[in-house]
């Protein structure tokens, strides 16, 4: 099986599709990991078979209808053919070979992609689905974050998918396809990223009110950048400066500590996302708002207004409270 050769055919399809307009940052036609590349190889193999069958059936149908359309001048009934065993056996048996051509790489990739990780330096990430955001833990590296997952290029990544609420589905089209986060189970995705950059992901299983707003990003770094990122995430939040102290007081006063953790402070709750380095993320509220002061204010002021049903309540804070909280959170880089 040579997936690379088969996937050479994909561009052809994509050119046609790309003509239909614009960028498609979540397109499954673009593969940037070993896993998605191999998936696409099978996809394109099936695609060409189905395209062939499509032309055969639709072409045949149109041809037959045009050729045998009644002219109204017939004097006798057509020959009453009841069937033809040979023909019928042919189209019963032939498809078996097509199906085998699809089934063999399918089954082999199923087993390959679900095998245990053997690589020593594989990076392990626990991804937890929440209503409606994602928590990421790097148990071996001692980092917890939310909605933005960093991984090093070219290294095997094992994502362990879990949920303690409803079923979610973890989908990053260009890196790891999808798997469900099923309460009471641990599912796995294993992949090696092949391109640097930011990739979009989104929950793909209906999970309640704000299912549509449950997004996330995966950032593929060079191994050096990844190490830097880990180091910065591991460090506790800056608490010395006077502004930081005042900010944290506001945080405590508004009741945020009941749900959020900020490493290095007394805030240690795990109901909402870890905010230790919330300022370093590009997006907030699971990929739906850009991370800036305006949006932070908007969010803190009325979370359910931004995200229907949000588990972070509207705490009826004054504008000053909101402003100082937003300013404080911005400093948590």
């Amino acid at each position: 099986m040579k997936p690379t050769r088969a996937s050479l055919l994909l561009p052809l399809v994509m050119v046609v599709l790309a003509a239909c307009g614009g960028d498609h940052p979540m397109s499954t036609f673009i593969a940037h990991s070993d896993l998605t590349r191999e998936i696409n190889a099978i996809y394109s193999r099936i695609f060409w078979w189905t395209a062939l069958l499509f032309l055969l059936v639709q072409g045949g149908l149109i041809y037959v209808v045009l050729r045998f359309r009644a002219k109204g001048t017939e004097t006798a009934n057509p020959e009453q053919v009841h069937g033809n065993i040979r023909l019928e056996l042919t189209w019963t048996i032939l498809p078996i070979f097509i199906l085998m051509h699809i089934a063999i790489p399918t089954v082999s990739l199923i087993f390959k992609s679900q095998a245990q990780t053997t690589e020593e330096n594989a990076v392990l990430v626990n991804a937890l689905g929440k209503q409606w955001w994602f928590a990421f833990e790097y148990p071996e590296l001692g980092v917890t974050t939310a909605n933005e997952m960093h991984v090093p290029l070219g290294t095997e990544i094992e994502v362990r998918l879990q949920s303690d609420n409803v079923i979610h589905s973890f989908w990053v089209p260009q890196l790891m396809a999808k798997r469900d986060m099923v309460p009471g189970r641990v599912n796995h995705i294993k992949f090696k990223a092949e391109k640097l950059g930011e990739f979009y992901g989104q929950c793909a299983e209906y999970c309640g009110d704000s299912h549509a707003l449950m997004k996330f990003r995966v950032v593929v770094d060079t191994p050096e950048d990844f190490a830097k990122w880990i180091a910065s995430q591991k460090a506790p939040a800056e608490t010395e400066a006077a502004t930081a102290q005042a900010g944290f007081q506001a945080f405590q006063g508004a009741g945020c500590v009941a749900c959020h953790a900020i490493n290095g402070t007394t805030a240690a709750a795990v109901i909402g996302p870890d905010l230790t380095h919330v300022g370093s993320r590009t997006m907030i509220a699971s990929g739906i708002l850009e991370n800036n002061e305006e949006n932070l204010k908007k969010w803190i002021k009325d979370p359910p207004g931004v995200k229907p049903g949000s588990k972070m309540p509207n705490l009826n804070l004054s504008d000053e409270q909101v402003a100082s909280l937003a300013a404080y959170l911005q400093t948590l880089k």
């Binding site: 498609h24 099978i42 099936i46 209808v65 679900q114 396809a177 798997r179 309460p183 299912h211 549509a212």
Partner: protein, 629 residues
């Protein structure tokens, strides 16, 4: 009940005048009237489900739209799916089962006419339970969340038509919305199973003399397969729903992992029903197309036994593929591989059917009536759905397509391009038999063009937008994903499609009153329903025919065999008397099941449950004592 109602009887034939008035419809046990009731109800719900679909499409026409709220959108797609499947396609198929099966097999009615009426009324009650929340919620949405009536704040079902645990559990759905859904489906399930047994026994026992199994029309065959699927698969969802109800009402934890339950148990039970359900929806249409294509090419069905056996094989294999709906849930490599292979196998009998249909046309004299156009459309569109199905039969590929718009495209090609095109074909084909008039053919062709064009404009682009990463069941999406234009296009398509359906409804009701008159056998068709008058008399046939061929009516006029013959002498006809008991029984069962789910809410529910039970006992007791003749 023990006496089959349509057996020729020594009583005087005195029932042939057709009674009229509301009461006669409420008490009818005539399979044709019940068929009409099913058909009209199905059309009404088809319109309702269609409106839901249009609101969905309007919401998605542009990014970040706020036409509807997130929770209401979620309720809409839940009800759109539930309605189209259980209240649109299934009852429209049931309309044809009811009206046509006794006629096609040369019988005077189904074997249990009162049970048949019971099925219909129960279906209507279930449909009511599912939809009445739309009328309740506007008044209860504003209730105080801390009051005892808080569960009423959301009553429109909103857990998805697939109702996945744990989202449907009390913890995440504390409202009555899920309970209404459970009650409605439970009621519909009983109605379907009762009808299933009725038709199995009818088809096995009530066929005219000489009609061996292989002389049965293909539509009757497919109906038989469907009824077996119904009686074997509905118990799975019945059990699944009972477990869910226990979790919700009594605090059991069949689906709750924190207490040792398993949310995947629901998925297994649900899809063990849900996959055969797909064939329950599509096989009737396949049966219709297998009648229509031969008639309008003036040839027999090519390889009829192959087509029939393929139908049976599809039905059987349909029970061995359920987990292909669960490739993303992490069943393990062995299970993924096994279910992938069984799923691919289904392509074989399906492909057989498609090629046999095309070769039925080969060498024929094809008349492009509207019915024929829809049948041809069925073959083309269903093939599309089948081919995209092969793509996600491969689990790795499915890991990209599952729960994306690609899958939405796939199953609309199967269920709209397939099932509904087939049913439209059936409507145009049998309307003359049912009403004695033709549907307008000029309108018909315009309607077909609009429906075909609108359908493809709506659903073909969904393949792309799905492959470009758009998930299903999202009430909104951001710009910049490359999804915008395509979604707008789809919405335009949906309204085109809806316009076609609107024209159809107008044409339908106009032709009912002033369509051109049709004779007994206007299409020169082959099966027994065409020997009786259009519309048929209450007793269907003056004399029960003796059948010599699988195309009795065709052979009678075109040879080579005699086709069928009518016996000498007068036949004494006996028909079952009308009865109100099935309606009362259905109300009882419906009331019992509906109030049962609200037991926790109010003492009133307990009273209603008791009243429902009382009605059940009363109606069944008197029903059994009622003379069958």
């Amino acid at each position: 009940m023990a006496t089959p109602a349509a057996v020729p009887h020594t009583h005087e034939a005195g029932h042939s005048a057709s009674p009229s008035g509301l009461w006669s419809w409420l008490t009818t046990v005539d399979h044709k009237r019940i068929g009409i009731l099913y058909g009209l109800s199905a059309l009404a719900f088809f319109v309702l489900g269609g409106v839901e679909g249009l609101i969905i499409r309007s919401q998605l026409s542009v990014p970040n739209n706020d036409l509807v709220s997130a929770p209401f959108y979620n309720a809409l797609f839940t009800m759109h799916g539930t309605t189209m499947i259980f209240l649109g396609v299934m009852p429209l198929s049931a309309a044809f089962f009811n009206y046509m099966i006794p006629l096609q097999i040369g019988a005077r009615d189904v074997v249990f006419p009162r049970l048949n009426a019971f099925s219909y009324w129960l279906f209507l009650f279930g449909a009511f339970v599912l939809n009445v929340p739309f009328l309740i919620q506007p008044f209860t949405a504003g209730l105080d969340p801390s009051s005892t009536l808080a569960p009423l704040i959301r009553v429109i079902p909103d857990g998805g038509w697939f109702g996945y645990a744990t989202l449907t559990g009390k913890e995440f759905s504390p409202y009555l919305s899920i309970d209404f859904w459970v009650a409605g489906l439970q009621i519909l399930g009983i109605a379907s199973m009762a009808a299933g047994f009725n038709f199995i026994v009818t088809i096995f026992n009530m066929r005219a003399p000489g009609m061996t199994m292989l002389r049965m029309p293909v539509f009757t065959w497919m109906t038989l397969v469907v009824q077996f699927l119904v009686v074997l698969s509905f118990p799975c969802i019945t059990v699944a729903l009972i477990l869910l109800l226990m979790d919700r009402l009594f605090g059991t934890h069949f689906y709750i992992p924190s207490a040792g339950g398993d949310p995947l148990l629901w998925q297994h039970l649900f899809w063990l029903f849900g996959h055969p359900e797909v064939y329950i929806l599509i096989l009737p249409a396949m049966g219709i197309v297998s009648e229509v294509l031969p008639v309008f090419s003036r040839k027999p069905l090519f390889g009829a036994p192959f087509v029939i056996f393929s139908g049976i094989t599809i039905g059987l294999l349909g029970f061995g593929v359920w987990a292909h709906h669960m490739f993303t849930t992490g069943l393990g490599a062995a299970a993924d591989a096994a279910f992938s292979v069984t799923t691919m196998l289904i392509a074989i009998p399906t492909g057989v059917k498609i090629f046999n249909w095309i070769f039925t046309l080969w060498g024929g004299q094809i008349r492009l009536t509207t019915s024929m156009l829809f049948a041809l459309g069925f073959v083309g569109m269903f093939t599309m759905g089948g081919l995209s199905g092969i793509m996600h039969s491969s689990p790795p590929v499915d890991l990209q397509q599952q729960d994306s718009y690609f899958v939405v495209a796939h199953f609309h090609y199967v269920l709209f391009g397939g099932a509904i095109f087939g049913l439209f074909s059936g409507i145009y084909y049998w309307f003359p038999k049912m009403s004695g008039r033709f549907l307008d053919e000029t309108w018909g062709k315009i309607i077909f063009a609009l429906v075909l064009g609108g359908f493809n404009l709506t659903f073909f682009p969904m393949h792309f937008v799905g492959a470009w990463g758009m998930p299903r069941r999202i009430y909104t999406y951001d710009e910049g994903m490359g999804w915008d234009q395509v979604n707008l296009l789809e919405t335009i398509g949906a309204f085109t499609l809806a316009f076609g359906v609107l024209l159809f409804l107008i044409s339908f009701f106009r032709s009912m009153r002033n369509g051109a008159k049709a004779g007994a056998n206007p299409w020169d068709a082959a099966t027994l329903e065409w020997i009786t008058t259009s519309p048929p008399a209450v007793h269907n046939f003056d004399k029960t025919p003796m059948v010599y061929s699988d195309r009795p009516v065709w052979e009678k006029s075109h040879g080579p065999g005699p086709g069928y013959s009518l016996p000498e002498g007068e036949e004494h006809i006996h028909l079952p008397p009308p009865s109100i008991k099935p309606l009362i029984g259905a109300v009882g069962v419906g009331m019992f099941l509906t109030s049962f789910v609200a037991l926790n809410l109010s003492i009133l529910a307990l009273g209603m449950t008791a009243l429902g039970l009382a009605l059940i006992f009363y109606s069944f007791y008197t029903w059994f004592l009622e003379p069958g003749h």
